[in-house]
Symmetry: C2
């Protein structure tokens, strides 16, 4: 198809498509004349993915290019694709949180957490710095949240990761697999955090006894009504 048809089908303006082509975010079409090229379904798919990364998650064009370049290079190897997607999107999205984390004195606590969870991850996984930084902040705030308080969160994160990986198991087309890994990792993050907030709201109402059928008790003591027994 010509670039005008590519624009129509992807919903991306022609000028933006040309910009992505110049920046290497989109692979070139098949040249049919000095100033003319033919595009196919792979271009439509890639444009949608770029739009999702840049538009929805607010990645810079440079960060999106790095992620996509790596994904398509390693498309034959699911594990390496996933590793790259995890690392690159974390770097791009959490630079502020991760900065300086590698040298954090909390890194030994992060290692203790990973040991307790039985996880083997690469030494320089960017997620480690984010967790270390969070532990630092929690300590600065004077909370009693240390790495042991993160163990139940880690166990639930492991169950989320199992659902994530089930979603890419059995996909045979390497390109589709790479894109699916990217979608699951990057695009689902806001939805997961939104579901957590919605669940907090629901459970807070239930614990307070302020559900639609329950009594609305404005004088209920702080801490809520009938807390469940500790697990």
């Amino acid at each position: 198809m010509r670039i005008s048809e590519l624009s129509r089908r992807s919903g991306v303006p022609i000028t933006t498509i040309k910009y992505y082509l110049r920046e290497g975010l989109l692979h070139p079409g098949r040249a049919t004349a000095p100033n003319q090229a033919e595009y196919d379904d792979s271009h439509v798919r890639r444009l949608r993915l770029v739009r999702a990364l840049v538009g929805v998650r607010g990645l810079s064009v440079g960060a999106a290019k790095e992620v996509l370049g790596g994904v398509y290079e390693r498309e034959g190897d699911p594990h390496r694709v996933l590793g790259l997607v995890l690392g690159a999107t974390a770097d791009a999205a959490d630079t502020g949180d991760a900065a300086g984390g590698a040298a954090s004195p909390r890194m030994s606590e992060v290692d203790a957490l990973l040991d307790a969870l039985g996880w083997q991850v690469s030494e320089d996984a960017s997620g480690k710095a984010v967790v270390a930084r969070t532990l630092d902040t929690l300590a600065e705030l004077g909370t009693d949240y240390d790495w042991k308080r993160l163990v139940p969160y880690g166990e639930l994160a492991a169950r989320i990761a199992a659902v994530d990986l089930d979603g890419i198991e059995g996909i045979r087309d390497p390109l589709e697999m790479a894109e699916r890994a990217l979608v699951l990792t990057v695009l689902l993050e806001p939805a997961l955090m939104a579901l957590r907030r919605l669940a907090q709201e629901h459970q807070s109402a239930v614990r307070r006894g302020a559900g639609p059928e329950g009594p609305d008790a404005p004088g209920a003591p702080a801490g809520g009504v009938s807390p469940p027994p500790a697990p």
Copy 2:
């Protein structure tokens, strides 16, 4: 204590403290002379919280002020504090994701998801718009991820919320409760997403059979070793 001592103990420069006082992010001290005030531990604690909100999560001063103002006004009512924290921080952090979501045609799918999970949440909960927007994007990308695929994620989010709420159960001091709710909701988000990425990396290695004891199989077929039957 004087402002210099407050600066030393909180680690926040005097000029920044004065700025927070002018902007209403920090409550005034007790005036002891026309240009002099006395501060106490509540100021140290509040400053650390402001620094965490503005520094770690990148909230604007205006957004942080809104969150803190609401939290301290409603400090006697855990459920309302939590509701405010959830709404305000979601608005501040996810404006881009939530924009236009309220009118999304996917909102009925979000309601179906909430029904399936058995959750009761307020009609205008900002998390709903985020989930609707994500469903929109997943459909645009041509994936087969509809609201039913989010049910297992919702179930795990509910278990995370239960751990969250256990963390504020039994706290009697309303100020401490409000601060804890804020910490759990806002500050733990990056750590939770980092744990998910670390768990994905670990499990991907295990499924591929590339663990430290397992064989490293560079020629393994795309899709990993022994994929389960298609659902």
